[in-house]
Symmetry: C2
Subunit: 307 residues, 2 copies
Amino acid sequence: MFDRSGLPKSVTVYEVGPRDGLQNEAVILPTTVKAELVKRLLNSGISAIEVASFVRPDIVPALADADELLVELAPMLSTHRMSALVPNQKGLDRALKSGLQEIAVFASATESFARANLNNSVVGSLDIFGPVIRTARDAGIRVRGYISMCFSDPWEGKTATDKVADVAMRLLADGVTEISIGDTIGTATPGEVIDLLDAFDSRGISRSLLAVHFHDTYGQALSNTLTAMLEGITTIDSSIGGLGGCPFAKSATGNLATEDLVWQLHGLGISTGIDFDTLLLTSAWLGLQTGIKVRSKTAIALVGKNS
Amino acid sequence: MFDRSGLPKSVTVYEVGPRDGLQNEAVILPTTVKAELVKRLLNSGISAIEVASFVRPDIVPALADADELLVELAPMLSTHRMSALVPNQKGLDRALKSGLQEIAVFASATESFARANLNNSVVGSLDIFGPVIRTARDAGIRVRGYISMCFSDPWEGKTATDKVADVAMRLLADGVTEISIGDTIGTATPGEVIDLLDAFDSRGISRSLLAVHFHDTYGQALSNTLTAMLEGITTIDSSIGGLGGCPFAKSATGNLATEDLVWQLHGLGISTGIDFDTLLLTSAWLGLQTGIKVRSKTAIALVGKNS
């Protein structure tokens, strides 16, 4: 039986398009277009957005303008939840200067991905994040901790739930205020979502601290999101227009599209604070301004053919 | 809470690609390729396939070769579950001649779609189907009854659940052996699926008589399928490679892709009798042979980039 009464009354849609999305697109957008995108997303009622990344500009050229973008967004930082990815102390210094009230760190559950993406071991990278998290918290800044490859990775296959829970415990001990559980290659199915949440339970981690970040590479993202909601998760990551490809699969499909998520949430009577029509207009605007293909099925169905 | 113990142990994947899929593609395949597709699907372990339609050839040219195709498939009709769409008595005569053990009729829950697709009223079309169903059953032939536009239609908006249940009751009274609940334009979200199943319950219709047929036009098909399974549905329609566009929306996305469905089912430990690798090879073969774009995200992720 599907226990509808177990669904949350409201959900926080955490928009990752401007950071996670644009980082994985071939197009580099001007700072003004990025700022306009964030403003339009906020105007549609999106209540949490990851807007930038303070990584080295030569590593992620698409997001090299983080400091300039934050200057443009500065007037809104005290009234809206915005965040940026911070890889190390140097990134944190830039984030603190920007006036952001929240940052994010990006950990890996598997050694192979830690090596490939962070050029470090799992524990070695957590050792770098630890002081960053502590310093941020001491400065009154919230910290989101991403854990990637939570279900499987391209080199090691299935990820043991204990490995993910170990990383989560370490991040929480260091002071993160939210954990985002990432299915980076999109292979997970609903049973695996429950298994991982059970492993978190066994460590006593409150579900109110958890967000889910599903990729739609295998078409499973919304089913997994629905499963997570039935299990009490109320923060869901998604990306406007499905922005962001998947660098670790042959598919062009990465992030769950915000439009498809919101269509389901509103269909279920779950409130998000989002005005769906304004969200659709933002998606259409983004496609026209940037030439980036809209990958939301809902947006394509309602706004126009896309192939 | 997601009650995993409520999921079925096994599911019948009802493959609609060769009929519903090819009917809505721009390409017309040679009879030999269609026969080969059906054989490859059976060889992958698919246990139920709709292979053809006995509509007038001038109305659906892509399926005009139904009689010839059935001659090629004749040796397998006694050992495998295959079906064909039958619009009227004349179609039934062709189906009976073919040796098929199952046929399907295609009803509408809404007056607007009945007019647009069947050139008749809802009741008027059911009056035509009635004798077809009875004659088929008298000949020992099973009959599947599709009901289209079960959740909404492009002209009338939301479909009242009672209208759908009325059509189902009439079809069951005439003798159909299975009802396939169709979300023809793909707008449904999980709560609406439960509402409709509740309406069927209130008429005393056993869930063992029901199948679900979700379109992925709004990206919701797998979530709705998962919901239906939690509610006891064990027959799920899908289409290899996501064959079949959606004639009633701006999107190119119609049927749920069989590969994405099976990925989820096997991930959940639900048995289907399908060998996933053989299914993927069939999907890849179909794309190469026909030039029809594979729309399964899972197939694209595992077999190759498609855009």
